[in-house]
């Protein structure tokens, strides 16, 4: 008897239940898995300003979007349906008919950029006050960026630096409506960028890859022409205003 056992060696462990154990673990992970990646509308809030700065903003440079407590839209003083907001935002950004109530787009040419870069370079070199030097340096960088964009796009027209889409809501406005308005404004800008990119580079803006170096410059140029300018301004009670 003993001899026989020894010859057989250690008995093999039954692996039949292995699948069951694995199944159990699998089901646990299946249940706990959340595959959703968070997506949404990204926004940058303006920093808090210490002292009240009375900014001189031309009325034509502001696209005023008000949403009241009943989720109704008032755009530039007129009642508007949400489906028209996208077209409205696009018109504000482009001002195709040179309307005096919409921001004036200014042409940027390569000659102008080069001249300005030369000017600011000499300012930076001659400035003694460090603060002034910083300011000149910033302007210089801005013009260099514009020159880059001109090289890629040809002469283009730019929005005035303080042109802005101002979105204000009442305190009882629903968040759903707020997001829908944000979405429409975003869509308007995205469509403009898509059109420009398609025309100049043969690809839509959304198809450009931020991770590729050659696309990075293109994205930057398109953004310069149609900047993201939705203001998350100081909340103003819409109901009190009117």
């Amino acid at each position: 008897m003993l001899k026989k056992r020894k010859r057989q060696g250690i008995q093999e462990i039954n692996a039949g239940s292995m699948a069951d154990i694995a199944f159990l673990l699998l089901i646990f992970f299946l249940v706990t898995t959340t595959m959703d990646t968070d997506a949404g509308i990204l926004r940058l809030l303006p920093p808090v300003v210490e002292e009240e700065v009375d900014m001189q903003v031309n009325k034509r440079d502001v696209y005023e979007v008000l949403v009241n407590d009943a989720d109704m839209l008032l755009v530039e003083g007129e009642v508007m349906e949400i489906k028209d907001l996208r077209a409205g935002a696009k018109e504000f950004m482009t001002n195709p008919s040179n309307d005096i109530n919409l921001p004036e787009r200014r042409r940027v040419t390569s000659a102008e950029c080069q001249q300005k870069i030369g000017e600011f370079k000499s300012y930076v070199a001659s400035a003694t006050d460090p603060e002034a030097k910083d300011a000149y340096q910033k302007s210089l960088e801005k013009w260099e960026e514009k020159l880059e964009a001109v090289k890629l796009l040809g002469d283009f027209s730019e929005l005035p630096p303080n042109a802005v889409i101002s979105l204000q809501t009442g305190s009882k406005t629903s968040y759903d409506m707020y997001v829908r308005v944000q979405n429409e404004l975003e869509a308007g800008i995205r469509e403009l960028r898509d059109e420009l990119s398609k025309e100049k580079f043969g690809r839509k803006y959304t198809e450009l890859d931020e991770k590729k170096d050659e696309d990075k410059a293109l994205i930057k140029a398109v953004r310069l022409v149609y900047p993201q300018r939705v203001s998350e301004a100081e909340p103003v009670d819409v109901t009190k205003k009117s």
Binding site: A15, A39, I41, L42, Y175, Q182
Partner: protein, 151 residues
């Protein structure tokens, strides 16, 4: 002759299940790797609003969440409340929460932290605006309005 008879009486042989555990293990590892455990228990009811122009938040490690919605416990009423981490919070607690979030991360990454607002779509803008003001005060400027994909 007898050979053939033998075969037919046996019928089709059973499929070997020996490789079944391997297949299951493969699936198991896939889910283990992709799993992100839910970090918090939601104390508020949230149905996200829909939007089509969304950006994906790439780096989850650099996102902090603020939840706003009506509380799930009926005893707490139907006014929207804010949840930070695992508990309800008042507006003045945001500053501390932002600071704690910054201290957890490398210094260079601090400007890259996004605060994602997961807000129920029925909520009034009042509380959202107040939260945004608090975030501005504590210099947490990069925010995301979390939405569900439309269509």
């Amino acid at each position: 002759m007898s050979r053939f008879k033998d075969n037919s009486s046996k019928g089709t042989p059973a499929i070997s299940t020996a490789s079944l555990p391997d297949i299951i293990f493969m699936l198991l590892f896939f889910f283990m790797v992709t799993t992100v455990m839910r970090e918090v228990d939601l104390l508020v009811k949230i149905t996200l609003p829909e939007a089509s122009e969304t950006t994906k938040l790439e780096d989850k490690a650099l996102v902090d969440y603020i939840y706003i919605g009506t509380p799930q416990a009926k005893a707490l009423g139907s006014e929207p409340l804010m949840q930070l981490n695992d508990q309800f919070a008042k507006l003045d607690e945001i500053a501390g929460w932002v600071k704690a979030g910054e201290e957890r991360r490398e210094e260079v990454l601090i400007p890259k932290i996004t605060r994602s607002l997961k807000v129920d779509k029925e909520t009034n803008m009042k509380i959202v605006t107040e939260v945004k003001q608090e975030l501005r005060k504590s210099n947490a400027l990069k925010i995301n309005y979390s939405t569900a994909q439309a269509r």
